[in-house]
Amino acid sequence: MALGVLPWLLLSAALFSTGLFGLLTRKHAIGLLISVELMANAVNLNLVAFGYFRGDLMGQVLALFGIALTVAEVVVGLALVIQLHRHNRSIDVDSARELAG
């Protein structure tokens, strides 16, 4: 028996919500980045599932773009985290409050 696209989308929605939970409950900057990563991963899974069940390759192409974009985001994010740590001796995001204009 073959499954349709719906179970995959529900799985992806559950993963996305888990990432949201992480995003809302972490205060550690790297913890936040990890959660964002989880959410981006859920989005990519969505794209691939749609592409597969539509029978074209557009989903895979979009997911590849998504992966590259997330990797770029993580690189810059981690650089910011390291600089924040150097500046404040802490990577609790609340310690960056002085940045607020």
């Binding site: 073959a2 719906l6 989308l9 409950t25 990890i34 069940f53 773009f65």
Partner: protein, 160 residues
């Protein structure tokens, strides 16, 4: 079908471990496992190349980078980085709300038909990149260059 449920269960368990582990190093390692399981899901969805790229870039690159970042940012008291969850009830409520909103939308939406056409064609994906999506592909290379330069500029020591 069994493969789907095994993958789904593994993905959900690893994802929950990622967001609930108190030890940050463990959270990162769980994230790596979660990303590898996702590669398995891609393989089930006939996206072979994507599965390979997922393991190389995410599980290999991103997780290593994150581990480095965790190690390079020690706490003043040299303890292992632990992270308490702030307001887990509220976070849980928000996540649940998000999931139900998404699920309601999905259940009402008109989704593409259930007959999957197995397309597993890495060559064709590559061809699409260099023909139909050439502009986006080149823009992406500029973005990656910008990210690389930005990372170097932001992370370097000011006094060096």
């Amino acid at each position: 079908m069994i493969a789907f449920f095994v993958t789904a269960a593994a993905l959900l368990v690893t994802a929950v471990m990622v967001v609930t582990s108190k030890d940050l190093v463990r959270a990162v390692l769980w994230l790596g496992l979660s990303l590898v399981v996702t590669a398995g899901a891609y393989a089930q969805l006939a996206a072979d190349m994507l599965a390979a790229i997922q393991i190389m870039l995410y599980a290999g690159g991103v997780v290593t980078l994150m581990l480095f970042a965790v190690m390079l940012t020690p706490r003043p008291d040299d303890e292992r980085p632990t992270v308490a969850l702030v307001n887990p009830e509220r976070g849980f409520a928000a996540a649940l709300l998000m999931f139900f909103a998404l699920a309601m939308a999905l259940l009402q939406a008109e989704l593409p038909g259930g007959t999957a056409v197995a397309v597993s064609d890495s060559q064709e994906v590559g061809r699409l990149f260099l023909t139909d999506h050439l502009l986006a592909f080149e823009a992406l290379s500029v973005l990656l260059l910008a990210a690389m330069i930005a990372a170097i500029v932001i992370a370097r020591r000011r006094d060096a």
